[in-house]
Amino acid sequence: MKRRDLHVVGHDVWKVDGRMLVTGTPAFTDDFPKQGMLAGKLLRSPHAHARIRSIDASRARALPGVHAVLTCENVVADPDPSRKDQFRRIAYTRAGQDYPEPSPWDYFLLDRKVRYVGDRVAAVAADTDEIAREAIGLIDVDYEMLPALFTPEEAWAEGAPVIHDEEDCENVLDRTRNHCAGVDVGLGDVKAGLAGSDVVVEGTYRTHRMQHAQMELHACITYLDGDGRLVVICTTQVPFHVRRQLARVLGLPIGRVRVIKPRLGGGFGGKQELVLEDISCALTLVTGRPVRMEMTRFEDLNWSRSRHPMKVDARVGAKKDGTLQAIEMIALVEAGAYGSHSSTVPTNTGNKNLPRYRCANVRFKYDAIYTNLPITGAMRGYGTTQGAFALESEIDELAERLGVDPVEYRLGVTIREGEKDRVSPRMYEAKIEGPDAGWPIDSCGLAECIEKGAEAIGWKEKRARYTKENGSGSAVRKGIGMCCLSQGSGVAGIDSANATIKLNEDGSINLMIGASDLGTGADTVMAKIAAETLGLRVEDVVVYATDTDIVPFDSGAYASSTTYVSGGATLKAAERVRADLLEIAAEMMGEKADDLDLVDRHVVSHRSSKKVPIGEVALFSAYKKRRTIEYTANHVSPVSPPPFAAVYADIEVNAESGELRVVEMVSAVDAGKIINPKLAEGQVHGALHMGLGYALTEQLLFDGKGRPLNRGLGDYRIFRADGMPRMTTILVETYEPTGPYGAKAIAEIPVNGPAPSIGNALKHALGVRIREIPFTPERILRATGKM
C-alpha cells in the first residue's frame, strides 16, 4: 500500500473501551445478571492417576435444589436419543484452534479415568453455589489407583504405565509410550556443521511451569434462547473455535450455537481453550436452564492452563571468525495430562527462535510427553519463551568463547532486511516445501534494536565497569546482559480474519470484527486502522466484537495475529468503503475520484480544493442514490513477518545471600509501524512483567502426589508495583509492506526477554552460567558453590 501522511495511526488515543473500563461499567462475563441461573460446579479428582470403578451420584441428585449431576455414566458410545442426559463419547481437544485442531484429540466430556489431581469427575447444576458444593460432597466415587508419572523422563521410559490407554483418542503420536507429539526438522547438515566448527558450545536448559494469572477468572454463562439455540457468554479469546468445537462435542449443528465474548480481563493464551464452556453447556442442555460457572483463583491458577515445562539441549558451533556453522535444539516437553497445544507450542520453540540467526545448518527436535500433572497450553510467547532462554544463553557463551562482546557478536550474525528466513517454512504449520523456500524478511530493525538498546542502558561503560568492580571482592556484584528475540505475526496461511464496515448516513461507521480483544487494545487498533483509511476520527467508529451471530468469522486472538491479520481485514474493508465514497463524492462534486481524498471527516479535492463532509456523501448515497455502502473483507497472510527485539537487563546480585535485584530493563522492539504508541509500550511493559516473574519468582509446584502447593496469588508471586525494575522501552519503527500501515505484532515478543537477559547478566556478575529458571536465591547460591 501507498505510504501517506497519517492522522490517526501512530498517534495516541483513548482506548475505545477505556471509558467503560475506568468507570467500572458492567462489561465482563461475571457482570451479567445472574437471576434464575443455576450454579455449575465440578467434582475434581483427588488422585493423579486412577480409574473410576464406580460412581454413585444418587445422594447428590436427591438433594433439594439440585437440577443435574453428570458423571462418566452420562457419556456413552450410543446415547439414547430420547434421553436429554446422555452425551455421545467423542474424543476432542479443548485447545481452541483451527479446524482440524492440530492438538491431539485425547479428551472426553467426562471419562472413566482421571489423569491429574483436579481432573473432572462430575458436574453439578444447582439453585445456589452452596447447594452445588454440598451436592459435590455427596457423590461417591470408587477409584482404582494407578501409578502416577510426574516427569517426562519417567513417562517416556519403556514399560511406563500408559496415561491415555483409551483406544478412541486420535492424533496422539504414540500413546503406548505417553508420546503426545513430536517433530524432527532441519535445514542443511548439523553434524557436518558442528564438525566444521572451531568452537562448539552446548548446554541443557530447564524451564518450569508458570501460569497466566490474568486478573479475571475463567467464567461462562450458558443458556437456551427463545428459539432453543445454545448461547454461551464466556471468557474466550477464540469465540468461533469455541462455537465449532462445542457443536461437535455436544452433537449440535454449528448454527445452533452462539458464542458471545464480552470484555475480557486478560487472557495471555489461557483463554484459547474450552476451559468451562463444554461442561457448562452440557449442564444447560440437560436442565434446559441457564447455568453459570466460574473458577476460583485456586482452580484457575492450578487447573486452567500453564506454560509447558521444557528441557532444551542446545548446541551451537561457529568458525573462529564467528560465522555460525550449526545450531541444534532438542526439547523434551511436558504436556501434562492432555495434549492441549502440545504439538504446536513446542514447534515455536525452534521455529520462532532459529530464523533470527544466519546459519546454514539447523536442527530442531521436540518430543512432548504426557504426565499426570495439570494440562499445559497456550501462553504468551507460545514455546518461543523456553527456546529463547536456551538459545540466547548459548549465543552468549559462544561470544565469550570467541572472545567477542555479546552485543558486537550478535550484530554480526543476526538476520537483516532483504535476507530470507529459510527455517520457518520448513517448520511451520503451513508446511511450505521446496529447496529454496524461504520467507523474505522485508522489515527488520533488529540491528537498530541492538544498538539503541545498548546505548540506552550504557552497555559499553557498564560492562567494563562492572567487570572491574566485581573483582573487588564485594558481596554485591553487578551484571549486565542482553538477548535478541523474534516472534511472528499470526499463523501464516492459516489465520483468517474478516471485518465488516457499515457506513452510516452521518459518515460514522460500524466496524464489526471477529477479532477478540482480550484487554490488549485490539478493538482500538482496528478502529484506528478504519478511521485512518476513511478520514474519520476514532470516535466516529463504533466497534462491535465479538458475537458469532453478528460479526464475521475470525480465527481468534492468538499467535500475535490481531493487529497484523485482523488489521489486514479491517484495512481491506475500509479501502472498499473508501473507494465507494470517493466514487459517489466525485459525482456529487463534479470531480474525478482520483483527485479526491478523505481527510478529517471530509472529502477534499486536491484539484479544486472543494470540500464536502463525508456525512453528506453518506446521506446522498443512502437516499439519493439508494446505495448502501457496506463491505466485508477477508484477510489471510501467506507469511508471518517476525517482530524483532533486543532486551537488556542491568542487575545486582548478592553473592552471599543469593538475592537478585533487577535494576533496569531496556527493551528495543521492532514491531513495524506502531499504531498506538502508548498501548504498544504497555504491551512491552506487561510482557516484561510476566517475563520477570517467569525468570525470578513464579512457579507452580506440586507435592509428591501431584497435588498443587500454590494456594493463590499470595504464594504464586507475580511482581507488584514496588518490585518492578525501571523499564525503558524503545520502539524502533520499521515498515512491514505486508502489514496494515506497515504494522507487525508486538504483544508476545518481549515476554521472552527477561530470562535470557538476566541469565546473561548473572553470568557477567558471578561468572557462572545458571541453566535453570527461576533464578531463585537458592539456585544462585548452589551455582556459586555457597550452598
Partner: protein, 159 residues
Amino acid sequence: MSEIELKLKVNGEEKCWSILPGDRLSQVLRREGYLSVKVGCSTGDCGTCTVLLDGKPVLSCLMLAAQAEGCEVTTVEALSDSKALHPLQEAFLDEGAVQCGFCIPGMVLTAKALIEENPSPSEDEIRHAISGNLCRCTGYENPVRAIQRVVKEGKGGSR
C-alpha cells in the same frame, strides 16, 4: 442463618440492605449492583475488590459486610458521571494505563486515597501504595505515570 440488616452509606446514598452474617462486603456490593467492585481471588491477594471505607482503601473480599455498618463506602461508580471523569480516570486513559481494565477500579481508588492523604507522593510512595493492586497487563509503568501526572497537575482531590 437468618438475615440481618445492614445500614451504611454507599457513594453518598443511605442504604439499608438485608444480608447474611457471613456475606462478604464484595459479594453484597456486587449483588446490589456496584459491579465496578471486581473479584479476582476472594483471598485478599489481588486487590481488584478494593473500595474506600471512610476514605481508606480496604479489600472488600476480606471484610464481612456487617463490618461496614454505619460506614461510608466509596466505589469507582462515584468518581464519574455521564459528563466527566475523575482526573485520575482521565490520566489513566491519557497514559495508556488501561489494558484489560479489571484491576483499574481498585487501583484508581487506591490512588485517590493516597493523593488525598499525601498530595505530593514520590514515585516510590505511589508504587508502595498500589503494591496491593495486582495487574498482569501493564507492568504498572503507565498506571504509575498516570498517577504522577495527576499529582503534578494537583488535581487529585477534585470530585
